[in-house]
Symmetry: C2
Subunit: 406 residues, 2 copies
């Protein structure tokens, strides 16, 4: 006993010493659009940010604040407006949003506040509405937290809320971790932004926390693609307030791997849900590339296949179209040998040594792809490295959601 991980259903509320709440403040016509994640005490923090060079003001502010203390006490998130491409006014607005939240929750140093935004690019933040939202959320403090409402408040065109909670043991002490995320969607047709917020009551030193998060994100959020478009506002943030830690541990502690495992699990489950809920998605697809020369080549192939519009529309049509996968592999930029390639769909060989399965008819192959979850295993026959990417198909609804002018 003591080493296993326990799946929890409670969401953010199970983590000790945090108050979280989502409210509607009027940025969007209906539905929650503002979320607060508050820790009773400043929590050790780690984060990863978008690599897009067109980077929204809240991302820059949160990155700067993180570097200052490696601690956050509060996160305030709005959906509906991204505060991206908004120049110096956007920078001021992000700072004001942090200050408003700090004031309301009685935090002396506003650089202990992280801000995140998602929604339309180019519009300015409606600060009056955001102020109302922060006050509304504070009205629930401390007696009425709601992790579920918080998860809902960061959604844009997501069709379901994404949350995950686990418990685990460090030094025999039970600790909790929970996360929420949002994926590819928007209330106005702008950006598919990926946001993730994870909280834990374990006690982890800042360097090890950042390392753990980086590792977990590489194994999860960085393996999701819906359409290859990286947002200006992507952010995954982790806060550890130590409320249940006997002592602060670092990566050399024998139980650190348990913490890492819990974090991996939370991030992976959230990331898979993002792929499952990709705009217009009807299928979840795990593209696994094996026997590549090295991981970077495996990665190049996996992303080329997972982002090919022809591959994705074929999946939507339940067409066993392995030819499009071969063609995507062939243009992925790495050196391949077509006659060494094997491709297996959900355990059924579709391509053997570069040619189609000669024993099954196209209609027989078709029944294999008529399923909600698909694993496409691409064996390059060149080495021993592998990489996988989670994605979804490309449907009429993807076009509908993203071409809709409002």
């Amino acid at each position: 006993m003591g080493k296993e991980m326990i799946q929890q259903s409670g969401g953010l509320d199970i983590v000790e010493g945090f108050f979280t709440r989502g409210v509607h403040c009027g940025i969007k016509k209906s539905n929650n659009d503002l979320a607060i994640i508050f820790s009773e005490i400043p929590a050790t923090a780690a984060a990863v940010f978008t690599t897009n060079q067109v980077c929204a003001a809240p991302v820059n502010l949160t990155r700067r604040n993180l570097e200052k203390h490696h601690k956050f006490q509060l996160v305030v998130i709005n959906s509906g407006v991204a505060n991206a491409c908004t120049g110096s006014k956007g920078v001021d607005d992000a700072i004001q949003m942090a200050q408003m939240a700090a004031r309301e929750f009685n935090i002396k140093d506003p650089s202990l506040v992280a801000v995140a935004s998602t929604g339309v690019i180019g519009d300015f933040l409606p600060l009056n509405k955001i102020e109302i939202g922060i006050k509304k959320a504070h009205d629930f403090y401390p007696d009425n937290p709601s992790g579920h409402d918080t998860a809902r408040a960061i959604m844009t065109t997501d069709t379901f809320k994404k949350e995950k909670a686990v418990s685990f043991f460090i030094d025999g002490q039970e600790c909790n971790m929970a996360g929420i995320a949002k994926g590819s969607g928007m209330i106005k047709p702008n950006m598919a932004t990926m946001l993730g917020f994870i909280i834990t009551d374990a006690a982890i030193d800042p360097k090890s926390l950042q390392k753990a998060l980086k590792g977990a994100v590489d194994m999860s959020f960085n393996r999701v693609t819906v359409d290859g478009d990286t947002s200006t506002n992507d952010m995954v943030l982790l806060m550890a307030n130590g409320k249940r830690g006997k002592m602060m541990i670092n990566e050399n502690h024998p139980d650190f791997f348990i913490f890492q495992e819990a974090l991996n699990q939370v991030c992976q489950d959230l990331a898979k849900d993002i792929a499952r809920d990709g705009e217009g998605a009807t299928k979840f697809i795990n593209v696994v590339v094996q026997k590549a020369r090295n991981e970077s080549e495996a990665r190049a192939v996996a992303f080329t296949v997972a982002e090919s519009p022809l591959v994705k529309t074929a999946f939507f049509g339940e067409d066993p179209n392995w030819g499009r996968i071969m063609a995507a592999v062939g243009r992925s930029g790495i050196s391949i040998q077509p006659e060494k390639i094997n491709i297996v769909f959900n355990g059924v060989p579709f391509v053997e040594e570069g040619m189609g399965n000669q024993k099954m008819t196209r209609n027989e192959l078709r029944t294999v792809v008529q399923t909600k979850e698909l694993e496409i295993l691409i064996d390059l026959g060149l080495g021993s490295a592998s990489f996988n990417v989670w994605t979804c198909d490309f449907s009429y609804d993807y076009v509908k959601i993203n071409s809709h002018y409002s």
Copy 2:
């Protein structure tokens, strides 16, 4: 007089010493599916081929034959089956297809025959049907050529045939050039293959011909993208039979630039038509990147924007969504400075110094994108290099065409 280029409407038929014909041989249920381009005498030839490493058998055979003589006398093209990923049988089938055509048209050396295929990947060529088609085409020889039928025979889901013809003067002698092309489409949902065949009665030496074609393709076919998926079967082939050349000229001849100009014009008009007729396209879009540090960086930005599903669906929805373009520029892999970027749609500034046009409303901007042809000018403010890409929008019909199982 004598230097100008004359636009011609006749298609392939205007070029002296060539017989071309398209027929229906039953690979497809209806519509032409086999084309012959025959030169009375072996013609100097040049070609460029797909860079996809999963390369169809006909592409490999034609490349090998070209290297042998730098001459072709006949091209035989089928649509409906791509003969890709077909192993050693596919290689034999391509050779047989060339041999059948050589026999019928009385060509002693079958390596003077080029073959091209487009259609479903993985299926084997129906050689019996192809043989019937070659005979059928030969029945029209020599009195009933038809460039229009030939243009139709290489189409897959193209909605209109693509042909272009011009006349020009070399050494005071009028010469002709004509080309046909097919774009992004397929009768079964497989590959979007780009094929182009250009013939001329000018006399050009093989090295200069290859150089001219490479230059023209870089300025035309290589600037078209519909969905970023490179085919296994792409090929552009140029034949010059010299029937109207007083003498064979090379790139040092004072009139060589006229030949190059004619070739550029033919290739560009065909390439633009391919973008215009992209699967499901409702708009033609010219993405022009200016003031980049160098052409390779300009190219990276232009293709990232032109291939972004979010940008393309926004155009379909006539949404003036410059934010998605900024985001695509930001993830294009080159170093940029967002605050230096200006974006102009059809002459109207949408982004100024990285921020949205503050003087026009979203609805005013919208009227600018409500047009069939759009020029998106992206000024990076970093240097003096530029590059442009022709593309189209991303519609319901793109998904429909490519998800349809048949």
